[in-house]
Protein backbone atom coordinates (compact mmCIF):
# COMPACT_ATOMS: atom_id res chain seq x y z
CA UNK A 1 0.00 0.00 0.00
CA UNK A 2 1.24 3.46 -0.87
CA UNK A 3 -0.19 6.43 1.00
CA UNK A 4 -3.90 5.61 1.63
CA UNK A 5 -4.44 4.28 -1.92
CA UNK A 6 -2.60 2.24 -4.54
CA UNK A 7 -3.11 0.47 -7.85
CA UNK A 8 -5.53 -1.98 -6.25
CA UNK A 9 -7.84 0.65 -4.78
CA UNK A 10 -11.35 0.25 -6.11
CA UNK A 11 -13.32 3.45 -6.18
CA UNK A 12 -17.01 4.22 -6.43
CA UNK A 13 -18.46 7.64 -7.20
CA UNK A 14 -21.58 8.82 -5.36
CA UNK A 15 -23.26 11.22 -7.74
CA UNK A 16 -21.57 9.92 -10.91
CA UNK A 17 -24.26 11.32 -13.19
CA UNK A 18 -23.92 14.87 -11.89
CA UNK A 19 -21.95 17.59 -13.71
CA UNK A 20 -18.89 17.43 -11.46
CA UNK A 21 -19.14 13.73 -10.69
CA UNK A 22 -19.21 12.63 -14.31
CA UNK A 23 -16.39 14.94 -15.42
CA UNK A 24 -14.02 13.94 -12.65
CA UNK A 25 -14.95 10.25 -12.79
CA UNK A 26 -13.94 10.38 -16.44
CA UNK A 27 -10.63 12.07 -15.61
CA UNK A 28 -9.95 9.53 -12.87
CA UNK A 29 -10.50 6.68 -15.32
CA UNK A 30 -8.11 8.35 -17.77
CA UNK A 31 -5.56 8.61 -14.95
CA UNK A 32 -5.85 4.86 -14.43
CA UNK A 33 -7.97 4.75 -11.30
CA UNK A 34 -10.12 1.63 -10.95
CA UNK A 35 -13.58 3.19 -10.87
CA UNK A 36 -15.71 0.10 -10.25
CA UNK A 37 -19.20 1.60 -9.93
CA UNK A 38 -21.17 4.81 -9.78
CA UNK A 39 -24.17 5.62 -7.63
CA UNK A 40 -27.16 7.52 -8.91
CA UNK A 41 -30.50 6.74 -7.24
CA UNK A 42 -33.09 5.79 -9.84
CA UNK A 43 -30.53 5.26 -12.58
CA UNK A 44 -29.40 1.81 -11.45
CA UNK A 45 -28.84 -0.59 -14.33
CA UNK A 46 -27.38 1.97 -16.73
CA UNK A 47 -23.66 2.50 -17.39
CA UNK A 48 -21.22 5.39 -17.17
CA UNK A 49 -19.19 5.85 -20.37
CA UNK A 50 -20.58 2.49 -21.52
CA UNK A 51 -18.30 0.70 -19.06
CA UNK A 52 -18.83 1.54 -15.40
CA UNK A 53 -21.99 0.08 -13.89
CA UNK A 54 -24.36 2.56 -12.24
CA UNK A 55 -26.34 1.35 -9.21
CA UNK A 56 -29.00 2.88 -6.96
CA UNK A 57 -27.22 2.77 -3.61
CA UNK A 58 -23.88 2.17 -1.98
CA UNK A 59 -25.31 -1.08 -0.63
CA UNK A 60 -25.84 -2.21 -4.21
CA UNK A 61 -22.27 -1.20 -5.09
CA UNK A 62 -20.76 -3.40 -2.39
CA UNK A 63 -20.69 -6.37 -4.75
CA UNK A 64 -17.83 -4.56 -6.51
CA UNK A 65 -15.78 -4.57 -3.27
CA UNK A 66 -14.93 -0.85 -3.25
CA UNK A 67 -12.27 0.50 -0.87
CA UNK A 68 -12.97 4.16 -1.44
CA UNK A 69 -15.72 6.50 -2.52
CA UNK A 70 -15.81 9.96 -4.01
CA UNK A 71 -18.87 11.91 -2.92
CA UNK A 72 -19.97 14.51 -5.41
CA UNK A 73 -23.53 15.40 -4.43
CA UNK A 74 -25.00 18.79 -3.54
CA UNK A 75 -24.03 20.12 -0.12
CA UNK A 76 -27.41 19.50 1.58
CA UNK A 77 -27.14 15.79 0.74
CA UNK A 78 -23.52 15.19 1.66
CA UNK A 79 -24.15 14.08 5.24
CA UNK A 80 -26.59 11.40 4.14
CA UNK A 81 -24.26 10.21 1.37
CA UNK A 82 -21.34 10.04 3.80
CA UNK A 83 -23.42 8.13 6.36
CA UNK A 84 -24.40 5.74 3.60
CA UNK A 85 -20.76 5.11 2.73
CA UNK A 86 -19.74 4.77 6.37
CA UNK A 87 -22.65 2.41 7.03
CA UNK A 88 -21.44 0.23 4.18
CA UNK A 89 -17.96 0.22 5.71
CA UNK A 90 -16.04 1.84 2.85
CA UNK A 91 -12.58 2.65 4.21
CA UNK A 92 -11.93 5.99 2.52
CA UNK A 93 -14.65 8.59 2.10
CA UNK A 94 -13.52 11.53 -0.02
CA UNK A 95 -15.94 14.46 -0.18
CA UNK A 96 -15.44 16.69 -3.20
CA UNK A 97 -18.40 18.97 -2.48
CA UNK A 98 -17.84 22.51 -1.21
CA UNK A 99 -20.13 24.55 1.06
CA UNK A 100 -21.02 21.61 3.31
CA UNK A 101 -22.27 23.00 6.65
CA UNK A 102 -19.52 22.27 9.12
CA UNK A 103 -21.99 20.92 11.68
CA UNK A 104 -22.67 18.14 9.18
CA UNK A 105 -18.96 17.57 8.72
CA UNK A 106 -18.41 17.37 12.49
CA UNK A 107 -20.91 14.55 12.71
CA UNK A 108 -19.51 12.78 9.66
CA UNK A 109 -15.98 12.96 11.03
CA UNK A 110 -17.00 11.68 14.47
CA UNK A 111 -19.03 8.83 13.02
CA UNK A 112 -16.19 7.90 10.65
CA UNK A 113 -13.70 7.89 13.51
CA UNK A 114 -16.01 5.59 15.47
CA UNK A 115 -16.00 3.13 12.59
CA UNK A 116 -12.31 3.46 11.72
CA UNK A 117 -12.94 5.19 8.41
CA UNK A 118 -10.82 7.96 6.82
CA UNK A 119 -12.59 11.13 5.64
CA UNK A 120 -10.85 13.35 3.07
CA UNK A 121 -12.31 16.79 2.49
CA UNK A 122 -14.90 18.21 2.22
CA UNK A 123 -13.91 20.87 -0.27
CA UNK A 124 -10.50 19.44 -1.06
CA UNK A 125 -8.93 18.21 -4.29
CA UNK A 126 -8.57 14.60 -3.11
CA UNK A 127 -5.56 12.31 -3.31
CA UNK A 128 -3.18 11.34 -6.08
CA UNK A 129 -0.49 8.68 -6.04
CA UNK A 130 1.24 9.07 -9.42
CA UNK A 131 1.11 5.97 -11.58
CA UNK A 132 -1.32 4.25 -9.25
CA UNK A 133 -4.50 6.00 -8.28
CA UNK A 134 -6.15 9.38 -8.32
CA UNK A 135 -9.34 10.13 -6.41
CA UNK A 136 -10.52 13.68 -6.81
CA UNK A 137 -10.05 16.63 -9.08
CA UNK A 138 -6.34 17.28 -9.43
CA UNK A 139 -5.27 17.82 -13.06
CA UNK A 140 -3.85 14.55 -14.42
CA UNK A 141 -0.90 16.02 -16.27
CA UNK A 142 1.01 17.80 -13.48
CA UNK A 143 2.41 14.69 -11.78
CA UNK A 144 5.59 12.69 -12.14
CA UNK A 145 6.37 9.59 -10.12
CA UNK A 146 8.89 10.51 -7.45
CA UNK A 147 9.72 10.75 -3.76
CA UNK A 148 8.14 14.03 -2.62
CA UNK A 149 4.88 13.77 -0.69
CA UNK A 150 2.67 16.85 -0.58
CA UNK A 151 -0.18 17.64 1.82
CA UNK A 152 -2.14 20.81 1.37
CA UNK A 153 -5.12 22.73 2.73
CA UNK A 154 -5.62 24.29 -0.68
CA UNK A 155 -6.62 23.20 -4.21
CA UNK A 156 -5.21 25.21 -7.11
CA UNK A 157 -2.24 26.29 -5.04
CA UNK A 158 -1.39 22.63 -4.61
CA UNK A 159 -1.29 22.17 -8.36
CA UNK A 160 0.97 25.20 -8.64
CA UNK A 161 3.41 23.70 -6.18
CA UNK A 162 3.17 20.17 -7.56
CA UNK A 163 3.86 21.45 -11.03
CA UNK A 164 6.84 23.40 -9.74
CA UNK A 165 8.19 20.22 -8.17
CA UNK A 166 7.62 18.26 -11.36
CA UNK A 167 9.21 20.98 -13.53
CA UNK A 168 12.23 21.06 -11.26
CA UNK A 169 12.91 17.45 -12.23
CA UNK A 170 11.64 15.83 -9.06
CA UNK A 171 8.41 13.87 -8.72
CA UNK A 172 5.70 13.02 -6.21
CA UNK A 173 5.05 9.90 -4.14
CA UNK A 174 1.63 11.17 -3.04
CA UNK A 175 -0.35 14.41 -3.03
CA UNK A 176 -3.22 14.92 -0.60
CA UNK A 177 -5.57 17.86 -0.21
CA UNK A 178 -6.96 18.09 3.30
CA UNK A 179 -9.79 20.39 2.28
CA UNK A 180 -10.37 24.08 2.75
CA UNK A 181 -13.32 24.01 5.15
CA UNK A 182 -13.22 24.92 8.85
CA UNK A 183 -13.83 21.26 9.66
CA UNK A 184 -12.21 18.54 7.55
CA UNK A 185 -11.47 14.87 8.07
CA UNK A 186 -7.68 14.86 8.00
CA UNK A 187 -5.07 16.84 9.86
CA UNK A 188 -1.49 17.36 8.81
CA UNK A 189 -0.49 15.00 11.61
CA UNK A 190 -2.68 12.18 10.25
CA UNK A 191 -1.05 12.57 6.86
CA UNK A 192 2.48 13.01 8.22
CA UNK A 193 2.20 9.60 9.87
CA UNK A 194 1.32 8.03 6.54
CA UNK A 195 4.13 9.89 4.74
CA UNK A 196 6.59 8.81 7.40
CA UNK A 197 5.58 5.16 7.08
CA UNK A 198 5.71 5.21 3.28
CA UNK A 199 9.12 3.90 2.18
CA UNK A 200 8.87 5.64 -1.16
CA UNK A 201 8.47 9.09 0.38
CA UNK A 202 11.80 10.78 1.11
CA UNK A 203 10.75 14.43 1.33
CA UNK A 204 7.59 16.11 2.52
CA UNK A 205 5.89 19.38 1.58
CA UNK A 206 3.14 20.92 3.68
CA UNK A 207 1.03 23.69 2.21
CA UNK A 208 -0.77 25.47 5.01
CA UNK A 209 -2.82 28.58 5.43
CA UNK A 210 -3.96 30.96 8.12
CA UNK A 211 -6.66 29.93 10.61
CA UNK A 212 -6.80 27.04 13.04
CA UNK A 213 -3.75 25.45 14.63
CA UNK A 214 -3.26 22.52 12.29
CA UNK A 215 0.18 23.80 11.20
CA UNK A 216 1.38 24.51 14.73
CA UNK A 217 0.41 21.00 15.86
CA UNK A 218 2.11 19.57 12.78
CA UNK A 219 5.31 21.48 13.53
CA UNK A 220 5.47 20.05 17.04
CA UNK A 221 4.79 16.57 15.67
CA UNK A 222 7.53 16.91 13.04
CA UNK A 223 10.04 18.04 15.63
CA UNK A 224 9.32 14.98 17.75
CA UNK A 225 8.75 12.29 15.14
CA UNK A 226 9.80 13.01 11.56
CA UNK A 227 13.31 12.46 10.26
CA UNK A 228 12.47 13.00 6.59
CA UNK A 229 13.02 16.49 5.21
CA UNK A 230 9.96 18.74 5.49
CA UNK A 231 9.40 22.00 3.64
CA UNK A 232 6.37 24.24 4.08
CA UNK A 233 4.55 27.07 2.41
CA UNK A 234 1.97 29.19 4.24
CA UNK A 235 -0.54 31.32 2.46
CA UNK A 236 -2.50 34.21 3.90
CA UNK A 237 0.43 36.25 5.21
CA UNK A 238 -1.06 39.37 3.73
CA UNK A 239 -4.67 38.70 4.75
CA UNK A 240 -6.21 41.42 6.89
CA UNK A 241 -7.24 40.20 10.37
CA UNK A 242 -10.85 40.82 9.29
CA UNK A 243 -12.70 37.53 9.60
CA UNK A 244 -12.08 35.97 12.96
CA UNK A 245 -13.82 33.43 15.05
CA UNK A 246 -14.61 35.92 17.80
CA UNK A 247 -12.93 35.87 21.16
CA UNK A 248 -13.71 32.26 21.97
CA UNK A 249 -11.68 31.03 19.02
CA UNK A 250 -8.61 32.64 20.45
CA UNK A 251 -9.08 30.79 23.71
CA UNK A 252 -9.57 27.43 22.04
CA UNK A 253 -6.59 27.72 19.80
CA UNK A 254 -4.57 29.65 22.36
CA UNK A 255 -3.66 32.65 20.31
CA UNK A 256 -2.36 30.78 17.29
CA UNK A 257 -3.65 30.80 13.73
CA UNK A 258 -1.74 33.71 12.17
CA UNK A 259 0.76 33.19 9.37
CA UNK A 260 3.51 34.46 11.67
CA UNK A 261 2.65 31.91 14.33
CA UNK A 262 2.72 29.08 11.80
CA UNK A 263 5.97 30.15 10.16
CA UNK A 264 7.59 30.53 13.55
CA UNK A 265 6.41 27.07 14.62
CA UNK A 266 7.77 25.49 11.46
CA UNK A 267 11.09 27.29 11.74
CA UNK A 268 11.45 26.09 15.31
CA UNK A 269 10.83 22.54 14.11
CA UNK A 270 13.60 22.87 11.51
CA UNK A 271 11.11 23.12 8.65
CA UNK A 272 12.09 25.63 6.00
CA UNK A 273 9.22 27.83 4.87
CA UNK A 274 9.13 29.06 1.26
CA UNK A 275 8.26 32.70 0.59
CA UNK A 276 6.69 31.88 -2.77
CA UNK A 277 5.10 28.65 -4.04
CA UNK A 278 7.76 28.44 -6.71
CA UNK A 279 10.49 28.40 -4.07
CA UNK A 280 9.36 25.08 -2.65
CA UNK A 281 11.45 22.90 -5.02
CA UNK A 282 14.53 25.02 -4.30
CA UNK A 283 14.21 24.28 -0.60
CA UNK A 284 13.91 20.55 -1.21
CA UNK A 285 17.60 19.65 -1.10
Amino acid sequence: MSVYVDENTKVIVQGITGHQGSFHAGEMIKFGTKVVAGISPGKGGTKFQDKVPIVNSVADAMSFSPNATMISVAAPFVKDAAYEAIDAGIGIVYILTEHVPFHDTMEIVHQARRKGITVMGPNGPGITVPGKCKIGIMPNQIFRDGDVAVASRSGTLTYEIVEAITRSGMGESAVIGLGGDPVVGLTFIDVLKKFNDDPKTKKIVLVGEIGGNNEELAAAYIKANIKKQVVAYITGRSAPPGKRMGHAGAIIEKGVGTAESKIKAFNEAGVKVADYPVDVPKLLR
Binding site: A75, F102, E107, H110, A239, G246, A248, I251, I252
Partner: protein
Protein backbone atom coordinates in the same frame (compact mmCIF):
# COMPACT_ATOMS: atom_id res chain seq x y z
CA UNK B 1 -21.64 35.27 9.38
CA UNK B 2 -21.56 37.59 12.34
CA UNK B 3 -25.01 38.66 13.60
CA UNK B 4 -25.80 41.97 15.24
CA UNK B 5 -26.48 41.79 18.96
CA UNK B 6 -30.21 42.38 18.45
CA UNK B 7 -30.45 39.51 15.98
CA UNK B 8 -28.64 37.18 18.35
CA UNK B 9 -30.91 38.22 21.18
CA UNK B 10 -33.97 37.53 19.07
CA UNK B 11 -32.67 33.99 18.52
CA UNK B 12 -31.92 33.69 22.24
CA UNK B 13 -35.44 34.82 23.14
CA UNK B 14 -37.01 32.23 20.81
CA UNK B 15 -34.87 29.55 22.42
CA UNK B 16 -35.68 30.37 26.02
CA UNK B 17 -32.51 32.23 26.91
CA UNK B 18 -33.44 35.24 29.05
CA UNK B 19 -32.53 38.61 27.54
CA UNK B 20 -33.47 42.13 28.69
CA UNK B 21 -36.69 43.61 27.32
CA UNK B 22 -35.88 45.91 24.46
CA UNK B 23 -36.42 47.06 20.89
CA UNK B 24 -34.40 48.22 17.90
CA UNK B 25 -34.71 51.53 16.09
CA UNK B 26 -33.15 53.02 13.00
CA UNK B 27 -34.25 56.58 13.67
CA UNK B 28 -34.89 58.56 16.85
CA UNK B 29 -38.49 59.04 15.71
CA UNK B 30 -39.07 55.34 16.44
CA UNK B 31 -38.27 55.81 20.14
CA UNK B 32 -40.98 54.68 22.56
CA UNK B 33 -41.71 56.85 25.60
CA UNK B 34 -39.25 56.46 28.46
CA UNK B 35 -40.43 54.02 31.13
CA UNK B 36 -37.43 52.62 32.94
CA UNK B 37 -33.74 53.39 33.10
CA UNK B 38 -32.41 52.12 29.77
CA UNK B 39 -29.27 51.23 27.91
CA UNK B 40 -28.85 52.49 24.35
CA UNK B 41 -26.51 50.22 22.41
CA UNK B 42 -25.02 50.87 18.97
CA UNK B 43 -25.51 47.85 16.74
CA UNK B 44 -22.05 47.45 15.27
CA UNK B 45 -19.87 44.40 15.02
CA UNK B 46 -17.00 45.45 17.23
CA UNK B 47 -15.76 44.38 20.62
CA UNK B 48 -15.29 47.08 23.22
CA UNK B 49 -18.22 49.21 22.03
CA UNK B 50 -18.58 50.60 25.52
CA UNK B 51 -15.02 51.93 25.66
CA UNK B 52 -15.49 53.46 22.20
CA UNK B 53 -18.56 55.39 23.33
CA UNK B 54 -21.04 53.16 21.51
CA UNK B 55 -23.15 52.43 24.60
CA UNK B 56 -25.02 55.09 26.52
CA UNK B 57 -27.31 55.08 29.54
CA UNK B 58 -30.60 56.89 29.86
CA UNK B 59 -32.30 57.76 33.13
CA UNK B 60 -34.93 60.03 31.62
CA UNK B 61 -36.83 60.59 28.42
CA UNK B 62 -34.49 63.43 27.57
CA UNK B 63 -31.44 61.18 28.12
CA UNK B 64 -32.99 58.57 25.87
CA UNK B 65 -33.65 60.94 23.02
CA UNK B 66 -30.20 62.47 23.34
CA UNK B 67 -28.46 59.10 23.39
CA UNK B 68 -30.36 57.69 20.42
CA UNK B 69 -29.90 60.85 18.34
CA UNK B 70 -26.24 61.04 19.17
CA UNK B 71 -25.47 57.40 18.39
CA UNK B 72 -27.56 56.96 15.25
CA UNK B 73 -25.48 58.02 12.27
CA UNK B 74 -22.31 58.40 14.30
CA UNK B 75 -19.08 56.65 13.34
CA UNK B 76 -17.35 54.26 15.69
CA UNK B 77 -13.93 53.12 14.53
CA UNK B 78 -14.97 53.64 10.90
CA UNK B 79 -18.35 51.90 11.19
CA UNK B 80 -21.52 53.92 10.87
CA UNK B 81 -24.22 53.18 13.45
CA UNK B 82 -27.48 52.58 11.59
CA UNK B 83 -29.39 50.83 14.38
CA UNK B 84 -29.51 51.13 18.13
CA UNK B 85 -30.96 48.70 20.62
CA UNK B 86 -32.87 50.21 23.56
CA UNK B 87 -33.00 47.87 26.55
CA UNK B 88 -34.10 47.95 30.17
CA UNK B 89 -31.08 48.56 32.36
CA UNK B 90 -30.16 45.53 34.45
CA UNK B 91 -29.46 45.57 38.15
CA UNK B 92 -26.08 43.92 37.80
CA UNK B 93 -24.78 41.97 40.76
CA UNK B 94 -22.15 39.95 38.95
CA UNK B 95 -20.97 39.30 35.40
CA UNK B 96 -20.16 35.83 34.06
CA UNK B 97 -18.88 34.63 30.69
CA UNK B 98 -20.17 31.70 28.62
CA UNK B 99 -19.77 30.57 25.04
CA UNK B 100 -19.94 27.54 22.81
CA UNK B 101 -17.50 27.63 19.92
CA UNK B 102 -16.27 25.34 17.20
CA UNK B 103 -12.85 23.91 17.86
CA UNK B 104 -11.44 23.32 14.39
CA UNK B 105 -8.65 21.10 15.59
CA UNK B 106 -10.93 18.84 17.63
CA UNK B 107 -13.78 19.11 15.11
CA UNK B 108 -16.26 19.54 17.93
CA UNK B 109 -17.97 22.23 19.97
CA UNK B 110 -16.27 23.50 23.10
CA UNK B 111 -18.03 25.03 26.07
CA UNK B 112 -16.12 27.93 27.59
CA UNK B 113 -17.26 29.51 30.83
CA UNK B 114 -15.86 31.77 33.48
CA UNK B 115 -16.83 33.44 36.68
CA UNK B 116 -15.03 36.52 35.32
CA UNK B 117 -17.29 38.02 32.68
CA UNK B 118 -17.71 41.49 31.24
CA UNK B 119 -14.08 41.68 30.15
CA UNK B 120 -12.36 40.24 27.09
CA UNK B 121 -12.06 36.54 27.76
CA UNK B 122 -8.47 36.54 26.45
CA UNK B 123 -7.56 38.74 29.40
CA UNK B 124 -8.89 36.26 31.97
CA UNK B 125 -6.24 33.95 33.46
CA UNK B 126 -6.38 30.38 32.06
CA UNK B 127 -7.04 28.90 35.50
CA UNK B 128 -10.26 30.91 35.77
CA UNK B 129 -11.63 29.54 32.50
CA UNK B 130 -13.60 26.29 32.30
CA UNK B 131 -13.43 24.50 28.95
CA UNK B 132 -15.09 21.24 27.97
CA UNK B 133 -15.41 19.54 24.61
CA UNK B 134 -18.88 18.40 23.60
CA UNK B 135 -19.25 15.27 21.50
CA UNK B 136 -21.41 16.23 18.49
CA UNK B 137 -22.94 12.74 18.29
CA UNK B 138 -24.16 12.96 21.89
CA UNK B 139 -24.78 16.65 22.32
CA UNK B 140 -24.91 18.52 25.59
CA UNK B 141 -25.57 16.61 28.77
CA UNK B 142 -26.31 18.04 32.19
CA UNK B 143 -23.11 16.78 33.83
CA UNK B 144 -21.18 19.29 31.73
CA UNK B 145 -23.19 22.10 33.26
CA UNK B 146 -22.70 20.64 36.74
CA UNK B 147 -18.95 20.56 36.20
CA UNK B 148 -19.00 24.13 34.93
CA UNK B 149 -21.17 25.36 37.81
CA UNK B 150 -18.88 23.71 40.35
CA UNK B 151 -15.82 25.22 38.65
CA UNK B 152 -17.46 28.64 38.69
CA UNK B 153 -18.64 28.18 42.27
CA UNK B 154 -22.17 29.25 41.37
CA UNK B 155 -24.68 29.09 44.19
CA UNK B 156 -27.28 26.30 43.72
CA UNK B 157 -30.13 28.51 42.47
CA UNK B 158 -27.97 30.36 39.93
CA UNK B 159 -26.36 27.05 38.98
CA UNK B 160 -29.78 25.65 38.16
CA UNK B 161 -30.60 28.62 35.91
CA UNK B 162 -27.15 28.36 34.34
CA UNK B 163 -27.58 24.65 33.49
CA UNK B 164 -30.97 25.29 31.99
CA UNK B 165 -29.47 28.14 29.95
CA UNK B 166 -26.72 25.83 28.67
CA UNK B 167 -29.30 23.39 27.31
CA UNK B 168 -30.83 26.24 25.31
CA UNK B 169 -27.48 27.70 24.29
CA UNK B 170 -26.37 24.35 22.89
CA UNK B 171 -29.66 24.07 21.01
CA UNK B 172 -28.99 27.47 19.45
CA UNK B 173 -25.45 26.42 18.55
CA UNK B 174 -26.68 23.28 16.77
CA UNK B 175 -30.07 24.29 15.42
CA UNK B 176 -28.83 27.61 14.04
CA UNK B 177 -25.59 26.08 12.68
CA UNK B 178 -23.33 28.38 14.67
CA UNK B 179 -19.60 28.73 14.77
CA UNK B 180 -19.91 30.71 17.97
CA UNK B 181 -22.57 31.64 20.49
CA UNK B 182 -21.18 33.90 23.17
CA UNK B 183 -22.77 35.71 26.10
CA UNK B 184 -20.49 38.28 27.66
CA UNK B 185 -21.52 39.40 30.11
CA UNK B 186 -24.01 36.88 31.38
CA UNK B 187 -25.45 38.90 34.21
CA UNK B 188 -26.58 37.76 37.65
CA UNK B 189 -29.07 40.45 38.64
CA UNK B 190 -29.77 41.77 42.08
CA UNK B 191 -33.09 39.92 41.84
CA UNK B 192 -31.22 36.61 41.44
CA UNK B 193 -31.89 36.09 37.74
CA UNK B 194 -29.46 35.10 35.03
CA UNK B 195 -29.81 37.33 31.93
CA UNK B 196 -27.84 37.53 28.69
CA UNK B 197 -26.77 41.18 28.57
CA UNK B 198 -24.99 40.72 25.24
CA UNK B 199 -25.21 38.24 22.38
CA UNK B 200 -22.54 37.33 19.89
CA UNK B 201 -23.70 34.79 17.33
CA UNK B 202 -21.73 33.67 14.28
CA UNK B 203 -23.64 31.45 11.87
CA UNK B 204 -22.16 29.19 9.20
CA UNK B 205 -23.21 30.77 5.92
CA UNK B 206 -22.94 27.36 4.24
CA UNK B 207 -25.93 26.29 6.31
CA UNK B 208 -28.31 28.95 5.01
CA UNK B 209 -30.14 26.48 2.75
CA UNK B 210 -31.78 25.15 5.90
CA UNK B 211 -32.44 28.54 7.43
CA UNK B 212 -34.53 29.95 4.65
CA UNK B 213 -36.67 31.84 7.16
CA UNK B 214 -33.63 33.95 7.96
CA UNK B 215 -32.98 36.68 5.43
CA UNK B 216 -29.84 38.39 6.52
CA UNK B 217 -27.50 40.67 4.71
CA UNK B 218 -24.04 40.12 6.12
CA UNK B 219 -23.47 43.34 8.05
CA UNK B 220 -19.73 43.11 7.59
CA UNK B 221 -19.73 43.14 3.81
CA UNK B 222 -19.30 46.23 1.61
CA UNK B 223 -21.91 46.93 -1.11
CA UNK B 224 -19.51 45.62 -3.77
CA UNK B 225 -18.85 42.47 -1.72
CA UNK B 226 -22.59 41.92 -1.38
CA UNK B 227 -23.00 42.32 -5.12
CA UNK B 228 -20.23 39.77 -5.69
CA UNK B 229 -21.79 37.40 -3.16
CA UNK B 230 -25.09 37.64 -4.99
CA UNK B 231 -23.29 36.60 -8.16
CA UNK B 232 -21.58 33.71 -6.41
CA UNK B 233 -18.02 35.03 -6.19
CA UNK B 234 -15.70 34.87 -3.19
CA UNK B 235 -14.71 38.53 -3.23
CA UNK B 236 -13.13 40.74 -0.57
CA UNK B 237 -12.25 44.40 -0.91
CA UNK B 238 -8.82 45.44 0.30
CA UNK B 239 -7.12 48.82 0.43
CA UNK B 240 -4.40 48.49 -2.25
CA UNK B 241 -4.37 49.40 -5.91
CA UNK B 242 -3.84 46.17 -7.85
CA UNK B 243 -7.00 44.34 -8.86
CA UNK B 244 -6.64 40.56 -8.64
CA UNK B 245 -8.47 37.72 -10.35
CA UNK B 246 -7.23 34.19 -9.69
CA UNK B 247 -8.65 30.70 -9.43
CA UNK B 248 -8.80 28.78 -6.16
CA UNK B 249 -8.86 30.37 -2.71
CA UNK B 250 -5.34 29.18 -1.90
CA UNK B 251 -3.81 30.39 -5.14
CA UNK B 252 -5.64 33.71 -4.85
CA UNK B 253 -4.36 34.17 -1.33
CA UNK B 254 -0.86 33.17 -2.42
CA UNK B 255 -1.13 35.78 -5.18
CA UNK B 256 -1.96 38.49 -2.65
CA UNK B 257 0.91 37.32 -0.45
CA UNK B 258 3.36 37.43 -3.34
CA UNK B 259 2.14 40.91 -4.36
CA UNK B 260 2.58 42.14 -0.82
CA UNK B 261 6.09 40.68 -0.55
CA UNK B 262 6.88 42.64 -3.72
CA UNK B 263 5.50 45.82 -2.19
CA UNK B 264 2.43 45.71 -4.40
CA UNK B 265 -0.83 46.27 -2.54
CA UNK B 266 -3.85 44.28 -3.72
CA UNK B 267 -7.19 46.05 -4.17
CA UNK B 268 -9.20 42.85 -3.78
CA UNK B 269 -9.42 39.09 -3.40
CA UNK B 270 -11.41 37.43 -6.18
CA UNK B 271 -11.54 33.66 -6.60
CA UNK B 272 -12.94 32.60 -9.98
CA UNK B 273 -13.57 29.12 -8.62
CA UNK B 274 -13.47 25.98 -10.70
CA UNK B 275 -15.68 26.90 -13.64
CA UNK B 276 -14.91 26.92 -17.34
CA UNK B 277 -17.14 29.68 -18.59
CA UNK B 278 -16.29 32.89 -20.46
CA UNK B 279 -19.13 34.85 -18.83
CA UNK B 280 -17.85 34.12 -15.35
CA UNK B 281 -14.56 35.77 -16.31
CA UNK B 282 -16.28 38.81 -17.85
CA UNK B 283 -18.46 39.24 -14.75
CA UNK B 284 -15.34 39.04 -12.56
CA UNK B 285 -13.78 41.90 -14.48
CA UNK B 286 -16.94 43.93 -13.97
CA UNK B 287 -16.57 43.54 -10.21
CA UNK B 288 -12.87 44.30 -10.14
CA UNK B 289 -13.29 47.36 -12.35
CA UNK B 290 -15.94 48.71 -10.01
CA UNK B 291 -13.28 48.66 -7.29
CA UNK B 292 -11.29 51.02 -9.52
CA UNK B 293 -7.80 49.49 -9.32
CA UNK B 294 -4.74 51.02 -10.99
CA UNK B 295 -3.81 47.76 -12.71
CA UNK B 296 -5.23 44.26 -12.95
CA UNK B 297 -3.47 40.95 -12.37
CA UNK B 298 -5.00 37.68 -13.57
CA UNK B 299 -3.33 34.55 -12.19
CA UNK B 300 -4.67 31.26 -13.52
CA UNK B 301 -3.49 27.74 -13.03
CA UNK B 302 -5.54 25.87 -15.59
CA UNK B 303 -7.25 22.66 -14.60
CA UNK B 304 -11.00 22.48 -14.58
CA UNK B 305 -10.76 26.15 -15.54
CA UNK B 306 -9.01 26.07 -18.93
CA UNK B 307 -6.53 28.76 -19.94
CA UNK B 308 -8.06 29.41 -23.38
CA UNK B 309 -11.49 29.97 -21.84
CA UNK B 310 -10.02 32.50 -19.43
CA UNK B 311 -8.14 34.18 -22.29
CA UNK B 312 -11.34 34.50 -24.28
CA UNK B 313 -13.03 35.95 -21.21
CA UNK B 314 -10.28 38.51 -20.74
CA UNK B 315 -10.54 39.62 -24.35
CA UNK B 316 -14.32 39.84 -24.12
CA UNK B 317 -14.08 41.90 -20.94
CA UNK B 318 -11.47 44.17 -22.44
CA UNK B 319 -13.76 44.91 -25.37
CA UNK B 320 -16.97 45.11 -23.36
CA UNK B 321 -15.61 47.46 -20.70
CA UNK B 322 -13.05 49.21 -22.98
CA UNK B 323 -10.38 48.54 -20.42
CA UNK B 324 -7.45 50.92 -20.72
CA UNK B 325 -5.78 50.07 -17.42
CA UNK B 326 -2.74 47.86 -17.60
CA UNK B 327 -3.50 44.15 -17.37
CA UNK B 328 -0.96 41.45 -16.62
CA UNK B 329 -1.96 37.86 -17.08
CA UNK B 330 -0.33 34.67 -15.99
CA UNK B 331 -1.59 31.48 -17.62
CA UNK B 332 -0.28 28.06 -16.80
CA UNK B 333 -1.64 24.51 -17.04
CA UNK B 334 -4.38 23.15 -19.25
CA UNK B 335 -4.54 24.89 -22.68
CA UNK B 336 -1.83 27.34 -21.67
CA UNK B 337 -0.36 27.78 -25.13
CA UNK B 338 -3.73 28.37 -26.77
CA UNK B 339 -4.64 30.89 -24.11
CA UNK B 340 -1.43 32.86 -24.40
CA UNK B 341 -1.79 32.96 -28.18
CA UNK B 342 -5.30 34.41 -27.85
CA UNK B 343 -4.01 37.12 -25.52
CA UNK B 344 -1.04 37.88 -27.74
CA UNK B 345 -3.37 38.28 -30.73
CA UNK B 346 -5.31 40.84 -28.71
CA UNK B 347 -2.36 42.77 -27.41
CA UNK B 348 -2.52 41.62 -23.82
CA UNK B 349 0.72 40.69 -22.14
CA UNK B 350 0.97 37.30 -20.49
CA UNK B 351 3.54 35.21 -18.63
CA UNK B 352 3.91 31.53 -17.92
CA UNK B 353 4.93 31.92 -14.26
CA UNK B 354 3.39 33.66 -11.32
CA UNK B 355 6.58 35.41 -10.31
CA UNK B 356 7.08 37.11 -13.65
CA UNK B 357 3.50 38.30 -13.64
CA UNK B 358 3.75 39.60 -10.08
CA UNK B 359 6.92 41.53 -10.76
CA UNK B 360 5.45 43.00 -13.91
CA UNK B 361 2.14 44.10 -12.43
CA UNK B 362 3.83 45.77 -9.47
CA UNK B 363 6.01 47.66 -11.88
CA UNK B 364 3.19 48.85 -14.14
CA UNK B 365 0.96 49.80 -11.19
CA UNK B 366 3.68 52.06 -9.82
CA UNK B 367 3.75 54.22 -12.92
CA UNK B 368 -0.03 54.68 -12.90
Amino acid sequence: MNLYEYMGKEIFRKNGIPVPDGYVIESASQLKPFKKPSVVKSQILLGGRGKSGGIKFAKSDADLKAAASELLGSKIRNLTVTKVLIEDMLNIKKELYVSIALSRSDREPVLIASNSGGVEIESVPQNEIFTKKIDPLLGYSDFIGREASAFMKLDPEIGKQFRSLLVNLYNVFVNEDCELVEINPLVITGEGNLIAADAKVIMDSDSFFRHKDIVITDPEKTPLELEAQGKGYAFVELDGKIGVIANGAGLTMATLDALTLHNGKPRNFLDLGGTDNVDIVVEAFDLVLKANPKAILVNIFGGVTKCDTVANGIVAAKNKFSIKKPMVVRLSGVHEEEGRQILKDNGIESYPTMMEAIERVVKVSEVQ
